[in-house]
């Protein structure tokens, strides 16, 4: 397309964004990679080569295994709740209900609440074992109150994060649902397909792509959950609610162990890249269409 002059101009116009992003991506990542092979703590200004020691210590630290597990539980748990719940909610909102617009607004609102606020509100006003709403609800049915963040810290965090991400899943599935061809549904109805078989053979396949997108994008974000942990449990009790990012943060900013934190960071990159690979393929395919 177009003329040589335009193409040259186009390159010049793209240059700032491309160069800035390149620097943004390469330089810090290279630095992290470099630090991950050094003995370097902020308490001791002497830096020395460490080989793979940082990786070795980071990985063999019992906190690492538990952080990996916690990360998996957190991501998996939230995905499970949000995808199934989102599917259910999207189908519900898509029905001809009164006040659909308002219902929609109420449902998506949690997504816009900043993570620190969400976590604090849940931690205090809902989950507090003495004054919280949950304690009150439990007392209504005669159950003893639960100290959520002390007794089931990870599950509590999963609940909070799922509350924040349920709207996202709902909104995207709802958008996909609304692009479903009405005529196709009517044709299927004429052909004698019942509600269930229409759902299985028409709706679900139509949504499969949106569901995949929800899963992948949420995964990217959920792998990085941080604020919710910081303001509720601070990773504890012990390391019961420490995930990978939080472990790296602990190493870097609390233990001042730059080398080990960097090794953790590189491991996080590897994990994220595995997910990103699949997400990019889906988005890339869409770009062709």
């Amino acid at each position: 397309m177009a003329t040589m002059q335009m193409r040259t101009t186009a390159r010049a116009m793209m240059a700032p964004a491309v160069i800035l992003l390149l620097v943004w991506m390469v330089v810090p990542l290279a630095a992290t990679l470099y630090y991950s092979f050094q003995n370097y703590t902020l308490l001791n200004p002497v830096i020395s080569f460490a080989g793979l020691d940082n990786y070795y210590y980071f990985i063999t630290d019992p906190a690492f295994a538990s952080a990996v597990l916690n990360t998996i539980y957190l991501v998996g748990g939230v995905l499970l709740i949000t995808v199934i719940g989102g599917l259910f909610l999207a189908l519900l909102i898509d029905q001809p209900i009164f006040g659909q617009g308002i219902v929609r607004i109420l449902v998506i609102s949690p997504f816009f609440v900043m993570p620190t606020v969400a976590a604090l509100v849940w931690k205090n006003m809902l989950m507090n074992p003495i004054y919280g709403i949950f304690a009150w609800l439990f007392s209504l049915v005669g159950l003893p109150p639960v100290d959520f963040l002390a007794q089931i810290p990870l599950l509590s965090i999963i609940l909070i994060v799922a509350w924040q991400w349920l709207p996202f899943a709902t909104l995207i599935l709802l958008t996909a649902l609304q692009s479903l061809d009405g005529e196709q549904m009517e044709a299927a109805e004429m052909d004698g397909a019942g509600v269930v078989s229409r759902f299985i053979y028409l709706v679900l396949p139509h949504l499969s792509r949106a569901i995949t997108v929800v899963i992948l994008i949420e995964t990217i974000f959920l792998l990085g959950v941080f604020a919710e942990i910081l303001v509720t449990t601070n990773g504890g009790p012990g390391t019961a609610s420490t995930n990978l990012p939080f472990l790296v943060y602990t190493q870097a900013l609390l233990n001042f162990d730059v080398g080990s934190a960097s090794a953790g960071g590189i491991i996080a990159v590897v994990v994220a890249n595995i997910v990103a690979f699949f997400l990019m393929r889906i988005i890339g395919k869409n770009l062709e269409a």
Partner: protein, 332 residues
Amino acid sequence: MGSIRLNKVSKIFGEMKVIPSIDLEIENGEFVVFVGPSGCGKSTLLRLIAGLEDTSGGRIEIDGKDVTSEAPAKRGLAMVFQSYALYPHMTVRKNIAFPLKMAGEEQAVIDRKVAEAAKVLNLTDYLERKPGQLSGGQRQRVAIGRAIVRQPTAFLFDEPLSNLDAALRVTMRLEISELHQQLGTTMIYVTHDQVEAMTMADKIVVLNRGNVEQVGSPLELYSRPRNLFVAGFIGSPKMNLIEGAEAAKLGAKTIGIRPEHIAVSTTDGAWKGTVGVAEHLGSDTFCHVHTETAGTLTLRTAGDAMLKHGDTIYLTPDDRRIHKFNNEGLAV
């Protein structure tokens, strides 16, 4: 002034030679139509002249000046796009004024020129509307208005009527022709519709696969097509092309005879045949006749001809109007 010269102009997209090499001269004030089937490179050629695409080779001159590597705005040409390409967020007035504003004209001059253009194009009542509130024909006129205010050396039109309905097309065709009479400016007009080409052009350039097949006035192309492609493309209904024994009799590979140059008789003639479909247009009747020796021929007869399906008739071509083509498809 507005004479345009193409000298061995070529265009290659990647691997594809869309325009192998074209030489063409367009005189000042001429109405030139580029006509050819869809995908033959008409738009590409127009965009090369406009400067929206680079040439891969050759020279483009406007009024004797080499503009091959000049930016579009510097060529002094105005273009009317197939989609009209109006600025949807601007009123009609602002749309028409835009080129003047870009040229840094004074507001008073802009106002006067816009008013003039609007008057010529019957847009005065619509100046404060946005393009979205106009009909197809009005949008078309705004696009033309935007082109004429600049007083360009030449106008370029890329299939400007193809988005209009049939009736409006006929009206706009006349309006554009009239505009050309009034302004006397060179116009290059691209279309795939040979009727538009025949009715509007001073000079037609028939394009096929990026090559110029023939250049000439509408009547020249009609009466002396240089080759089979032009013969088949110009004229409606299409010229009948006959191969085999009938052609060999006249010493040609192929002979062509236009539907309107065949005489009909119920008693005798050169070719005997039966009437297949007869299309009654009122003014004319087009008959598709299956002959024994010359294949299926289209015939144009009077509107009141009482031919109907299954009739046996005899056809005789007008000898002076038979076109003969050799093995290479060239007229002899």
